[in-house]
Symmetry: C2
Subunit: 482 residues, 2 copies
């Protein structure tokens, strides 16, 4: 790198073209790259590590609530998809098929899993005999494939990574409780760890998972006002139990079908957190999932350099020891200013600067990526001060995202009002809905927005359907969505 | 469960039929189940958790040596396999092909990765421009598929889980150092964590990875004397760099091909540790990867039961708090004797018994699954005593496996001696080899054994080839292998 190299962001401003901004940011920050296979991306280390932090935290929450991990084959015999009518209709259009292997044409072609209800249902029917075998609480971390027409890195790719929980229960009540519990875990995780506020609610029938009795979701608002479904949890009733013959002898020695659930989040969470927190300078990563939480940059003239770098290295060791994910950039041929821009672009939450005057004063300068706040702190308080500022940054990111959502949420009574709201600015629109699929369709055709969910806790309870003006059955959040 | 239920092992003795013993054990202990897809198994929670402990430990070692994880698409365009001659020859016979997706026939069919040198090579050629970009040190945890004719749960399945490291370097020396470093990491991991002694060495040319310049392996002896290749590390020279155009501008501003490596271990490690440590009573799991390290069983008559269970729960909390993976089986309708057998079958390293007399004496009884040793320890010393006994059990398992290997290793000078050794008992046979493929083939045809590797540290340096009696170039370990 030349000494005089200028930092050029090459990032399209969000206001100019949000989609282009998104691609610019994730490529420049080396989170991903396109692959030679249509719709499939490479998760580069900087992007994959975010997923690793997501996995670690969620996995702990799953295990604390009694779930265990397992792994099922990714190949699903074609006949399995015929067993549950809604499921086959929902997924058939997106399946890739293995038709040959080891030089021979297969007798029955194999789909690559788009989700594993069928394979897991088949196995549960073998494992579950009695109420004593219940509940079965299993989660799988896996790759899945949905051959999508339009793809977008992280948010919609042909192959993606996810977790899928699959549980089987004695009673409807217990299964429904599980469904709600997992939605609650997702909510806590996404809000606390990814700093993204979400709206919890139930999907309308047309937006349900293929084969579910009830689908619940958490919905997040991106900075362009569009929605991302950040997690879903399904109560499957005994539809899959009937399709795959998952029966148990109950406490009265009678055969019963199980009640099952499934729930999942995917690598689209990475896309979401970029679109919620990023700005024109680049990424902004919540400290809890940032691969690098603190970047340390020595500054000052060449003559004091060795001493400054030596002190930086000592402080690095202290932070590292305390479990902070910290890195030093002590390259001599790149200017501090260039580095400042570079790590802001990469979304590193905190920058630590140390120069000769800081050495004399026994202090360092901490700068927040989010608020821009500069804080001069004593070196002998460094670990506490860094942890405090990381916590504050995490909280500030959540507060800002919540504020942004509030500023871009509307409450309307008629389709005309909704059109006006959607034209002015994209966002979440709360409205009454009579429950008919036709009215939902009309909204989509007229505004491009789909029903996101029926919030458990709407801001206001609407009395009339925004389309037909009949009595509202539900208050619904509508938005354009990824 | 009936009170009088008898514990029946249903496990075939190892001496009667080792393969049957293996299947009996892994099914009964619920490590796996067969799936409806040929050659693919389900990793049930008890089996998958072993893999999770393997992952966590190895992943830490990889990261400590500067590697980062990433994720690449599992689909590989057919044309990629044509680029490296040896690679295509080696893997083509085992590939499954996706030929259709989303209702359309693909223009170019896609293989499902059997390994990712080609896809990763393609991406590295985009990412690497200059010596400043090197080394690239990336690892991937993923599923891979090799459509094998003969399969065996864990040891050889059509779909399996593994990690594959792929690195690119400026110089041959650095790449060779990486190759050896990873073999060393595998050795330490397998010996320290899985308690399996291994022989480090280089594969003969006929046993090399398809496309490698040198392949190194660690070889372990199962209890039937057969070998398992427990890990491999390959120096790929610049064969893949030439095939995929991975070039960099060196320090003299000249274009050079990178030197690359790859290395991997897979879920066959689970099969290996079962076959190394198990016995006629069932599994025996090394404490470091056992899903349950200590099973606590309250004993004694009904009238003292509540008090005993209450005390067990207190001690459980202490062990849990100390990070021990501990479970309590306080079922009242199952006898302690039945439980003892059950958890021995499941390979739980330590059993803790607590009865009314132990209550009075402030003690517990600890029993080792491996040695059968009973140790009465004070309750107020419990955590230390348990950790000590787990460590001793881990060490005892390694020592026993090493002793077993010593007792089943032979050193021979002629093919006749080798035949005699292999007939008497399977095991590892050390012999001289002239280096010709023909002599290696003769050994295989006459004895069923293949060359495992050329050990870095052979017991003795052999002077003549066991087949042709010409001067030996190498001392080789031969064995029948899984």
């Amino acid at each position: 790198m030349a000494k005089d190299k200028q930092f050029v962001t090459e990032i399209t401003p969000q206001s100019e073209d949000f989609s282009k901004w998104y691609i610019d940011v994730i490529k420049k920050a080396e989170l991903m790259d396109y692959s030679p296979v249509r719709g499939c991306i490479v998760f580069r280390p900087e992007g994959y590590e975010i997923w690793e932090h997501i996995q670690r935290d969620l996995d702990r929450r799953f295990k604390e609530t009694g779930h265990r991990n397992a792994y099922f084959p990714m190949f699903i015999p074609e006949s399995f998809f015929q067993k549950e009518k809604d499921h086959v209709e929902g997924f058939n259009p997106e399946l890739p098929w293995v038709t040959e292997a080891a030089g021979e044409v297969l007798e029955e072609r194999l789909a690559i899993r788009p989700t594993s209800e069928t394979m897991i249902g088949h196995m549960y029917s073998k494992w579950i005999q009695s109420y004593r075998d219940l509940p079965v609480l299993i989660n799988q971390w896996a790759n899945v494939v949905r051959w999508e027409k339009r793809t977008l890195p992280f948010l919609r790719t042909s192959e993606f990574l996810w977790q899928e929980g699959h549980t089987a229960h004695e009673t409807e009540e217990e299964a429904r409780q599980e469904t709600r519990q997992m939605l609650e875990i997702y909510t806590q995780f996404v809000e606390e760890v990814l700093a993204i506020p979400v709206i919890k609610g139930e999907k309308t029938p047309s937006e349900r998972f293929a084969g579910a009795v009830n689908t619940y979701s958490i919905e997040a608002m991106m900075k362009d006002g569009r929605a991302v479904q950040a997690g879903t949890s399904h109560y499957l009733g005994n539809k899959f139990a009937v399709a795959f013959d998952i029966k148990y002898l109950d406490r009265n020695n009678e055969l019963q079908y199980c009640h099952t659930t499934s729930w999942g989040v995917s690598t689209r969470l990475i896309g979401s957190l970029i679109m919620v927190h990023g700005d024109d300078r680049g990424l902004a990563l919540p400290p809890k999932v940032a691969p690098t939480q603190v970047i340390m940059i020595p500054i000052g003239p060449a003559k004091t350099r060795d001493a400054v770098v030596a002190r930086v290295d000592e402080l690095y060791a202290q932070l590292k020891q305390a479990g902070v994910r910290v890195r030093v950039d002590d390259r001599a041929d790149v200017s501090p200013g260039w580095k400042f821009n570079e790590y802001e672009m990469r979304g590193v939450p905190l920058r630590l600067e140390l120069g000769p005057r800081d050495m004399d004063n026994g202090q360092v300068v901490l700068v927040s990526r989010i608020t821009g706040e500069k804080r001069v702190v004593a070196q002998d308080q460094l670990v506490e001060e860094v942890q405090k500022m990381l916590d504050e940054t995490q909280q500030a990111m959540f507060d800002r995202a919540k504020q942004f959502r509030a500023e871009n949420s509307y409450s309307v009574d008629t389709l005309e009002e909704m059109k006006a709201a959607m034209e002015k600015k994209r966002g979440f629109v709360e409205a009454g809905w009579c429950g008919s699929e036709q009215c939902e369709k009309t909204v989509k055709e007229e505004t491009g927005a789909t029903s996101r969910n029926i919030p458990f806790e709407p801001e206001t309870h609407k009395s009339n359907c925004l389309v037909c003006n009949a009595e509202a059955k539900h208050t619904v959040i509508f938005a354009r969505a990824y």
